[in-house]
């Protein structure tokens, strides 16, 4: 066993090199703004940029809206499928996989044609309506991840017994859903939420084609016009992604630690 693990260490070493070198290079590049010495000038410039603050704030709000709409759409559906309509499960699962099959650019192309200002439902006619359309688009993009996370969470608990127990105690449907089911799939919902956040925060295609001032198009704009700021932005984006994934691990671990242990 010891002999053969050497090859595996080498493979892991090459992998680490490929994945770490771009990060190191990006970081190094982001420090080079001031001539002849390393500095955090690029970060200072980026963070002070009003457009950065505006677009990052806008994308954050969109991500939160996407999470809220996504959770309200996915949790009751997944719950209902598990409890009452298990026959529909394959259909729903297939639909939730579709956003992986249909490229985002195709989806947004369809949105632009169906919801344009001369259509029955002109969702691109004013900014608020477009924001809503963008949110729904992001819910669609996040659907595969959100649905899978929640469905796995629901499978881990006994939905039917919990529901019947709550019903026998006289709980109403909203009570069951919000007081019983949501808290029990909290970890799954949070995992899905952080993943959604990571996807939405830097998303480019939807935002650019719906012409909204989101973080993704801002990044592209800076990339086309500046030298050092893009590297600083890449590092910031990487940190945000890392934070989201880290939080998924943290909530997962915390829930395992919080499981009551029978003495």
């Amino acid at each position: 066993m010891k002999r053969s693990s050497l090859g595996h260490w080498i493979a892991l070493g090459i992998g680490a090199l490929y994945f770490l070198v771009p990060l190191i290079a990006t970081f190094e590049f982001s420090l080079r703004m001031r001539r002849g010495e390393y500095s955090f000038d690029a970060y200072r410039v980026v963070l002070a940029d009003a457009r950065f603050q505006a677009t990052f704030g806008y994308s954050t709000m969109l991500a939160l809206a996407t999470i809220v709409v996504g959770v309200l759409l996915v949790v009751p559906t997944a719950y209902w499928i598990q409890l009452r309509l298990p026959k529909l499960r394959p259909v729903v699962e297939f639909i939730t996989l579709l956003p992986l099959v249909i490229p985002a650019i195709v989806l947004v192309f369809g949105y632009l044609r169906i919801y344009n200002s001369s259509s029955l439902l002109p969702m691109t006619s004013n900014e608020r309506a477009t924001d809503l359309l963008l949110t729904f688009g992001y819910v669609t993009l996040a659907l595969p991840y959100m649905y899978r996370a929640v469905d796995n969470g629901l499978r881990a608990i006994d939905v039917r017994t919990l529901t019947e127990a709550a019903e026998s105690l006289g709980a109403s449907w909203p009570t069951i859903l919000f007081r019983i089911i949501f808290p029990n799939v909290r970890v799954a919902v949070l995992s899905g939420a952080f993943l959604t956040f990571a996807i939405v925060i830097g998303e480019f295609t939807f935002a650019a084609l719906l012409d909204r001032p989101a973080f993704g198009p801002y990044l592209q704009l800076i990339g086309a016009n500046r030298a050092y700021e893009p590297s600083a932005l890449a590092i910031i984006a990487f940190a945000v992604t890392w934070a989201c994934m880290g939080l998924i691990n943290v909530v997962g671990r915390a829930s395992r630690g919080a499981t009551p242990t029978v003495p």
């Binding site: 595996h8 290079a25 590049f29 009751p76 369809g110 169906i114 729904f136 993704g216 990339g223 990487f238």
Partner: protein, 300 residues
């Protein structure tokens, strides 16, 4: 005769009554289906139908025929090449990495570290990824500069260009490899230690174990995930757009330009372009799902 005929008569009452399953239960999933129709099915269906219509809405195959003009075919071809190469290379490297971390007998902290990092890297796509590789392998990138300084080797003198086919493949690998790691990890976990032991004690060599057991068991996952990576790269645009602007002629960038400024001056040709993409990603994803169900059969 009469008996069989009589027994086949369905009592009219049951035929007229609503099926028992038709109840309020269906209302519970209505929001989901309404959402799916509005934001998935209709937009896609609109494009698919539009691909077979002319400007006046009459049926035509012209748009499909027009796809076969050299510039569009070329865009599809480059997209397919970039996606296929990054998928195959990503699948191979991703598999070796995942296998080394999971079954390679290395330190136990390696696996969770690789998994977490893969979760991050597979989502670190889009515009920032392009920035990272520009800072690394661009004309003034760190690695480019270090190679010139210490090895007196200019990769750009070899014809390499980050803003080209090979550069795009190298960049795409940054999310393709981690995605492969994430999806293959459960499949590698599914390789039971006892299979290897059983084959060894029956006289099989390591090579025979891989040839007759491990690869046949893993094959559906390996091939299926490679197809998923292909579709993943095929539909990607942000990284390529930020990296090359619109200089690299791939399908997504062509469609992006078409949507923005109607470079093709033909709405319905754009629909056909989209239809072609749906067909390609749909086929590879469909094959992925089919292969996945095959591999799950063994996991029971």
């Amino acid at each position: 005769m009469t008996e069989t005929a009589a027994s086949q008569v369905v009592p009219p009452r049951t035929r007229l009554a609503l099926p028992d399953g038709f109840s309020w239960a269906w209302l519970g999933v209505m929001p989901f289906f309404l959402f799916a129709v509005m934001f998935l099915i209709l937009p896609t269906g609109f494009l698919v139908v539009g691909a077979f219509q002319d400007n006046e809405g009459h049926f035509t195959l012209r748009n499909i025929v027009n796809l076969f003009q050299p510039s569009i075919l070329n865009a599809y071809w480059i997209s397919i090449k970039v996606s296929a190469v990054s998928a195959v290379v990503g699948a191979i490297f991703g598999f070796f990495l995942a296998y080394a971390a999971i079954a390679g007998g290395v330190a136990s902290w390696i696996r969770p570290t690789l998994m977490t990092f893969s979760g991050v890297a597979s989502n670190f796509a889009g515009v920032p990824l392009a920035f990272s590789f520009l800072a690394t392998l661009g004309r003034t990138g760190l690695v480019t500069a270090l190679l010139i300084k210490y090895l007196d080797f200019n990769i750009y003198s070899t014809g390499f260009n980050l803003l080209s086919f090979s550069g795009l493949v190298i960049t795409y690998l940054y999310f393709q490899i981690p995605l492969m790691v994430l999806i293959m990890a459960p499949a590698i976990d599914g390789l039971k230690r006892e299979w290897r032991e059983a084959s060894t004690i029956l006289g099989a060599s390591t090579w025979q174990y891989w040839r007759y057991i491990a690869l046949p068991v893993l094959w559906p996952s390996l091939f299926g995930t490679t197809l998923l990576l292909f579709a993943n790269a095929f539909g990607a645009i942000a990284t390529a757009y930020a990296l090359t602007g619109s200089s690299l002629n791939i399908v997504t960038i062509l469609l992006f330009a078409q949507i923005r400024g109607d470079v093709l001056h033909d709405q319905n040709l754009g629909y056909a372009l989209a239809l072609g993409m749906i067909l390609i990603t749909g086929l590879s994803n469909g094959a992925y799902i089919w292969l996945r169900s095959r591999s799950e059969r063994w996991q029971r």
